[in-house]
Homo-oligomer: 415 residues x 2
């Protein structure tokens, strides 16, 4: 099945917003075996919309139109659709009831513009929108399906997930699909590709692998396409079991999980407490840990020690080691992690000390040099990393993610 996406509205054309809707739909449709032929962004203009729909119909089995709806601006879009499909606007009572209900719930008065949203093309199937006032509209003409939806991202996503895709599956024009993303950290993409090459090559033809790297993780997405979701699910999961044996230390989670969530879940299970001491990461690790709702149950806190004096005074790092080895050293990282664990009465701790750059590097300790220490109830481990590049933000993110990965493995008893 081939689809074309048409987005209506000036915001994208003047660069006020980035068209993330099309990217999201592109990904969802491809995962469901629907190929995107073209994406076209047009103005809120009758002739322009007409021409775009006509061009799309010539090449696509499915034309998805987003935007140009909503209380103040749906006039042109709806009249244009009526003209294109040779129909007229009629009053749709269930839609008016849904709108009235929304306004009552929010204690706000409705105006004429809101009521007009219940005037909808007679020939279309209405797709109820539980997330907003403008419903989706499903038209069919010859062999092509046309769907018009509002452009507000969470409304559009709701309609695609709960109305559009289920209906397309009913038409039997799309296949069943299952996908699962494996999250890895610590092995560079090229090295990962080498290690899993044989596994990848042995994947059945209907299971595809995609590499999705970002600064936080290299994500491996497995997508299986076939007839029955349950079968696809067990096939994908059995492939992931094989993968776990090849790169056990690199996998930290699945799908939309974050490393902090995985660590938090395990600490809750063990009923243990965590503390953090940061130098080069400057608060970033603490920020990631506390971004998880419920983290106060296992997180005692952190010290960001940007000066040597704070390292001595709050974390108990010895002046001798600071003077002898410098703040960026194995000895200081070890004293930081053990110090913060003691001071904060925690069971686990992680510490970083390094040079994030772009300035501050020396020949012996160039920008990107980072010592990371993790400590648990039984032992402390200290490792040195040398990240390439002098971008401060990037070095902070990489140091933080690497530290969390070490912490995760320590908490899980893998180190």
């Amino acid at each position: 099945m081939k689809a074309e996406i048409i987005t209506i509205g000036d915001e994208i054309l003047i660069g006020q917003i980035v068209d993330t809707n099309s990217a999201w739909m592109g990904e969802q449709f491809n995962l469901n075996g629907i190929e995107i032929y073209q994406i076209t962004s047009v103005h809120d203009d009758h002739d322009h919309i007409m021409r775009a729909i006509k061009n799309a119909e010539a090449h696509a089995d499915l034309v998805v139109i987003t935007g140009g709806l909503g209380p103040t601006k749906d006039d042109i879009t709806k009249h244009t659709l009526c003209e294109y499909f040779n129909t007229k606007l009629v009053f749709h009572e269930p839609t008016l009831n849904a709108i009235t209900e929304r306004f009552k719930h929010r204690g706000v008065d409705m105006n004429k513009l809101n009521r007009d949203q219940a005037m909808l093309p007679e020939s279309c199937t209405i797709l109820p929108n539980k997330m907003g006032t403008a419903p989706g509209m499903w038209f069919e003409k010859n062999d092509t399906i046309f769907v018009s939806m509002p452009g507000v991202p969470f409304e559009m996503k709701y309609l695609v997930e709960f109305e559009l895709l289920p209906r397309l599956r009913q038409t039997k024009r799309t296949k069943a699909i299952f996908h699962k993303t494996v999250l890895t950290q610590g092995v560079p993409e090229s090295m990962l590709a080498e290690r899993i090459a044989a596994w990848e090559e042995a994947l059945p033809a209907h299971i595809k692998l995609a590499y999705l790297p970002n600064p936080m993780a290299v994500r491996l997405r497995l997508s299986a396409i076939g007839d029955r979701v349950q079968v696809l699910k067990s096939e994908v999961e059995s492939e992931i079991e094989k993968l776990q044996k090849i790169i056990p230390e690199a996998i930290f989670g699945y799908d939309t999980e974050t490393m902090s969530e995985v660590i938090g879940r395990e600490l809750v299970k063990q009923n243990k407490k965590l503390a953090v001491a940061e130098s080069c990461t400057g608060g970033y690790i603490s920020h990631l840990i506390t971004s998880v709702s419920g983290s106060s149950a296992y997180y005692n806190g952190s010290v960001t020690s940007y000066s040597n004096e704070i390292k001595e005074k709050l974390l108990g790092v010895s002046r001798e080691n600071l003077e002898k080895y410098g703040a960026v050293s194995e000895q200081v990282a070890r004293e930081m992690v053990e110090g913060v664990k003691r001071v904060m009465k925690a069971d686990y701790a992680v510490a970083t000390t390094g040079i994030a750059g772009p300035t501050g590097g020396t020949e012996e300790k160039p920008v990107g040099t980072v010592w990371i220490a993790v400590s648990g109830p039984e032992k402390t481990l200290v490792k040195k990393y040398t990240f390439i590049g002098d971008q401060r933000d990037r070095n902070i993110v990489r140091s933080g993610q690497t530290a969390l990965q070490l912490l995760r493995r320590m908490v899980l008893g893998e180190l």
Copy 2:
């Protein structure tokens, strides 16, 4: 002048990347008085590219094509352009020299694909690309200008800024432009609009105002269009002077500055030191401060105190106040900020304690309740905020930005 953007390549159509290039160009072109008529994303396919260019030519004075170039995939695009403009590929020596130079500099061997990048359409003007191996190409046909550029964002941006826009200005088809963005924090967009309504109405017709809100700030962009940049610059700056008198407390910087940079610059000037104590912001403020290169010159560090015990032990908050008023209270915020200032021997400090949510709220202290304290050499101020909504990430960002705004004003002696 009307432009159409055509992006070539599968990555956007399968949702692997978000089309930020078109948004960036849309913004730049609009700022330069060029209206974007349509954005079209197409496959790396001869017929598809031909049709898209032809459709664009019918409506646009300028057709900008990005993507489909680069060592492994420029074959289709370049041959299609040659066919469309009725020309042929010829060897372009300056381009080969530039490519050779790049490879020599990086100590990497060139292959045939790299050398083929110097084969370029005979009839076009070559736009040298200092950021990569694929140059831009400028064609003219009847009254329309066509420009093809690589899709790598920093290469495209370089070519737009240093080749495309200067050449368009030479054709006298675009006007001179000057824009400056005023960064504000602490006044909601609707209230800001009310306060500056009279000033906005009095703006000369050739100076436009745009509101660009994000979770960190409400940005006000002034764009002036006319004949001479120097004149426009002084006009915009005189309008901004008037604006400063209307909302003096809300403006924290200009263009791409961050609040942490502004605070850091002032601390360097005063030769003063800063410390932070965080509860609900959990490390976010410290992360923002240390994201600024050179922050170690004025930043001593922070304590994230997620437990009451740490508040007592590391920051000297009294158990009595913790028990009597609770951790989220004016008294505790005051003790936190004065404690961290003392412990870290700083001149300035900022502290937060609140309920980020989504859980943990009570009737008396709902999710979004935050106490923020700032302290300087002479005084301490504590303020209560009640942010609406229970999104944890959003409440952390709003609390952090509000705290930095208070700190900025304290450091500048405005409080």
